[in-house]
């Protein structure tokens, strides 16, 4: 059976600037990403700002049109979908955005904002029916009692509540895949776990697949502990595999640096972490990526081959790594970064 979602050499080239005397700027935000996701699977897509993770998410839900490659949904290229099949894809793939305030119309009540999609996709015939569906949904995401929320405006809710609402809106269309783009990065640390738990529950109860996009490895590890991870570095996937495997034995030097940067809520461990295993802080300019391996200017282990040839994803004991030197670089250990 075909996977739920398949990204086949997916590319996105943004073209900007340009004028009478100025050359156009081509920015390869996504430069050939291959991933696949099964029904009910959770995948964490991890990387820093500018690595293209959000662009991938937007292409999956159809907000951006790829400039190259294909997206297969249930085995069919989404650009070939028409009529009912297209509707089914649009309904089946939902997105939860990072900024919950920006994602809700401030001038409409929760009831107004959330009944529209249900009616639009014909999941309810009448307003009253949609209303009843909504009440169940709000209960499902822990916004109880629902009557207290339905007539409120977005600004009257807290960030955590709005995020639950976005999840309810996504769930209202009974999707098979939810792309969640940094859904918890704007809520307090103390509330993140409860939101992640909620997504985990939706995954188990309704077999909804999740693509969890984040820069935070700690939350990725939490939500996708039985799922997979893909680590992105400007435009490319540099390491991917089962999350528990990859986290236990990260091979790509970029992933090792990301791990070393995550603050640990334990003073004895976090105070032993030394400098980051990186040569510089700055990400490469995506309009003008370095030749060879895009990570080589920041990499502690780079050799001449890294400057010339672009590494491809290759298998290393069950996980896939795009690094020429993956077999030679030191294995990751929790205190090792101080000696690096």
């Amino acid at each position: 059976m075909a996977p739920l979602l398949q990204l086949d050499n997916l590319q996105m080239m943004f073209t900007g600037g340009g004028g009478l005397f100025r050359k156009k700027r081509h920015v390869g935000a996504v430069a050939g990403v291959n991933l696949s996701l099964d029904k009910g699977e959770i995948m964490a897509v991890v990387g820093e700002s500018g690595c293209g993770k959000t662009t991938v998410g937007k292409m999956i839900v159809g907000l951006l049109k790829p400039t190259g490659g294909r997206i297969l949904y249930n085995g069919t290229d989404i650009t070939t979908l028409h009529g009912d099949a297209f509707e089914a894809y649009r309904r089946g793939v939902q997105m939860v955005h990072q900024d919950s305030y920006a994602a809700l119309n401030p001038a409409r009540t929760i009831l107004q904002s959330l009944t529209d999609p249900i009616l639009r996709h014909g999941l309810a015939k009448k307003n009253a029916e949609a209303h009843a569906m909504l009440e169940d949904l709000l209960k499902l995401v822990g916004l109880t009692p629902p009557e207290q929320f339905l007539d409120k405006y977005p600004h009257q809710l807290s960030g955590g509540q709005r995020q639950r609402l976005l999840l309810a809106r996504a769930l209202s269309l009974q999707p098979s895949l939810i792309v969640a783009d940094e859904p918890v990065s704007m809520v307090d640390v103390s509330l993140r776990i409860s939101l992640l738990d909620l997504m985990g529950e939706m995954n188990r109860r309704f077999n909804i697949a999740f693509i969890y996009i984040t820069h935070d490895l700690a939350t990725a590890r939490y939500i996708a502990s039985h799922g997979r991870i893909a680590v992105m570095y400007p435009g490319k996937v540099v390491e991917t595999g089962n999350l528990s495997l990859v986290m236990a034995d990260p091979r790509h030097p970029y992933l090792q640096a990301l791990l070393a940067a995550v603050p640990i809520p334990d003073p004895r461990i976090s105070r032993n972490m030394g400098e980051l295993p990186l040569k510089s802080l700055e990400m490469p300019d995506p309009a003008n990526p370095p030749p060879g391996c895009r990570f080589h200017p920041r990499c502690l282990y780079a050799e001449s081959i890294c400057e010339r040839e672009e590494p491809l994803l290759a298998e290393h004991a069950g996980q896939w790594v795009a690094c020429h030197r993956a077999a030679q670089i030191p294995r990751w250990q929790w205190q090792s970064s101080s000696s690096a």
């Binding site: 640390v189 976090s270 980051l276």
Partner: protein, 332 residues
Amino acid sequence: MATSNNKDAILQAQDVTVDFKLPSRTLRAVDHVSLDVYRGEILGVVGESGSGKSTLATAMLNIVSAPGVISSGQILFKGQNVLAFSDEDLREFRWRDVAMVFQAAQNSLNPVLKIKAQVLDTAEAHGNQSPDAVLKKARELLRYVRLEPDQVLDSYPHQLSGGMKQRTIMALSLLLDPEILILDEPTTALDVITQAYVMNIFKRAHIDLEITMVFLTHDVSIMAKIADRIAVMYAGQIVELGTVDNIFYTPFHAYTKGLINAAPSLTDDVSKRRAIPGSPPDLTNLPEGCRFAPRCKLVEEGGCKGEYKGELVEVEPGHYTTCVEWKKMRGY
């Protein structure tokens, strides 16, 4: 005062209350809080949104924004009452004695001025140094935060990345050699790698320049790395205060314990993470007694009646809690 002792307290909040007078009710954002900042330490203040940590910080600089008013208590800087300062004294005090880096600091740069102009403006508003001396100092500081000085000074804010802007602000805040730096969520909008990098710079500035720091955040994980002492705020009150080890390894307040357990980590068993049930109380309609009681496990299991005695009690040297049943927190 529960938190005063013979250490060198350079900045003190004593019994400070900040009220926001709304049309129909009064919201008490900070409720009779006393907190000493010792010379040479990094003091962390941790709490969820709405816990009053930012308001407490603005009270310390006497810049509480309207309609907020400091309705009780005093702020002492080296023993002098900041709230009684004249405008001229306040101008001297802010930035020169105590500098503050605000939340989303990247947005506190003026978008239509080059960094250079903003550096000169700041110096001019707070003193009379010659432009050359100011720029020389600014270059040194920018180099210190590992930026290319000439490139940054000649840029508009939008030409810099988030991490660069954050480090520019950091350099600017040190321009007048303040003794204390108050940092309000200084890394929240940054990527993890930039955050780790900026934290290392803070730590280095603290050691090299002997700056006392007050660090406000909702993220306990960051505290583990940087703070010497931690004050935990909940619903406008400090509920626990102690060294970083006190707070992380032997917390004597269920809220503190809850915060630590709720922080996603890379090293822990994921199944041990627990969200804190419920949500913080409405500050205009507070419960009687302990404000955390409705969410507290001790109360739920009948180990506590939710009493609140009104102040922090020192339960071991330097470790304070408001929890009346703190002994039951041992091995919890």
